[in-house]
């Protein structure tokens, strides 16, 4: 898929104006995998053009945005510009970039982490509409099997490494049961740095994108993914463990908006599963054993099985 042909089509359909293109930035965020996403940054707005493999996913995204937009959450909600069976075009404020780009210099700030926590809690205050699908575990090592036949050797190795530890498989199953006993909130379902956009202003609100996985599920699910975001960033940056002040600000932001403290045990276990999933994602397309994959596996496995030890290492408890 060429960005040029996409832009030409948007111009033809009147979604994009020729004048906007003169000073726009075109960024291909994902060109492979489940979905494809292009961000077009003009001086007045950020357009997100997303192709879904399944039309139902596009419909889910539009439905989620409609529901959330009507509930005034503590984050910006993209507005729908165009919706076709396999593609959705959404608009949001200008100058947005995925937060991992904003964090690259000095890492995530306490203020932005607090804002993300508040944003997440405000989402979880939205009642899930009837018919919203129940959340699925981000990664189930016990069911990863036949679909791996065509996977890269790196992916197979990462999954084998996780499956070799029976304690992990047992813990994922047990966690699934625990999560089903939590009350259902409206969850984003795929919180990651790619899906959290921010602008450079100190008081700029965050924009959460990619709502096709929105689901009814336990809040621990998104909270764990949020914690995993900070851990993933620290692992890749190689500049030391996640800043406990930043993690604390994220959790405090959530607690402030939710009106009560957060019990960390289950979210930390969810963060562990999310990091195991991240390990497999990083291994995709490679034919070698990557050190970063090994690190994700070790930390993910530890958080899943031993959230108390994880909380001590992350300095979330004394």
């Amino acid at each position: 898929m060429q960005i040029g042909s996409v832009v030409a089509e948007l111009l033809d359909r009147g979604i994009l104006e020729a004048g906007e293109c003169l000073s726009a930035g075109f960024s291909a965020e994902h060109l492979t995998g489940r979905n494809r996403l292009i961000l077009i940054r003009t001086p007045t707005r950020t357009l997100s053009v997303k192709w879904h493999r399944e039309p139902t996913a596009a419909a889910r995204e539009v439905t989620a945005l409609t529901v959330i937009g009507s509930c005034r959450p503590d984050f910006h909600v993209q507005s729908l510009v165009d919706h076709r069976a396999d593609r959705v075009v959404l608009a949001s404020s200008p100058g947005l970039r995925p937060v991992h780009e904003r964090w690259r210099g000095s890492g995530p700030s306490r203020r932005r982490a607090h804002r993300l926590g508040r944003a997440l809690a405000s989402l979880h205050a939205v009642p899930p509409p009837e018919g919203t699908p129940w959340s699925r575990m981000p990664f189930d090592p016990s069911s990863a099997g036949e679909e791996l036949i065509d996977a890269s050797s790196g992916t197979r190795e990462a999954v084998r490494r996780i499956q070799d530890d029976e304690r992990v498989i047992d813990q994922v199953r047990e966690l699934d049961v625990v999560l089903r006993s939590e009350g259902a909130t409206f969850c984003h379902g795929d919180l990651r740095t790619h899906n959290v956009l921010g602008s450079s202003g100190a008081d700029a609100a965050l924009t959460l994108i990619d709502w096709e996985t929105a689901c009814a599920g336990p809040r621990s699910f998104d909270l764990g993914a949020g914690l995993a975001m900070f851990i993933e960033f620290a692992l890749v940056a190689g500049k030391g463990a996640p800043d406990p002040v930043v993690l604390g600000a994220f959790l405090a932001g959530y607690a402030d908006r939710a009106g009560g403290p957060v019990d960390l045990a289950v979210p930390l276990r969810c963060a562990g599963v999310r990091l195991l999933q991240t390990a497999v994602e990083y291994a995709a397309g490679t034919s070698e054993e990557l050190e970063i994959v090994e690190r994700f596996c070790r930390i993910g496995s530890m958080l899943l099985r031993r959230p108390g030890e994880g909380a001590v290492h992350l300095r979330l408890v004394a």
């Binding site: 960005i3 965020e29 991992h100 780009e101 692992l235 990083y282 990557l290």
Partner: protein, 108 residues
């Protein structure tokens, strides 16, 4: 009696002694008064020493999976990590070092 096979002793938390697992993964913190016997099994040059530690049956042993040093090490950059970095994210630009960018600004 409980028997553990561990590596060399190191100072642990609160006056305890920390023994890392012989495969380097995980550790146990023991108080000296918990250890009723110890025997050096292997101490070959270039290899991790192996000790057998005897504890009273029913001893309350604090087991850890990652020591502080191991935890910090996982977040430290390594030569191998730097080498594989370009392949970590599929969307690192191939013509410059921008992340997730392939547009007219960096790559005309």
């Amino acid at each position: 009696m409980k028997v553990l096979m561990v590596g060399s002793p190191q100072p642990g938390n609160g006056g305890s002694v920390r023994f890392h697992a012989s495969d380097g993964r995980g550790y146990v913190d023991l108080r000296e008064d918990q250890i009723v016997g110890r025997e050096l099994l292997e101490d070959s040059p270039g290899r991790v020493p192996k000790w057998l530690i005897a504890l009273p049956a029913g001893s309350d042993v604090e087991v850890g999976e990652l020591s502080e040093d191991e935890w910090r090490g996982l977040f430290a950059v390594s030569a191998r990590l730097v080498q594989e970095r370009p392949s970590i994210h599929n969307s690192w630009c191939r013509q410059c070092t921008s992340y997730g960018v392939s547009h007219g600004v960096c790559c005309p």
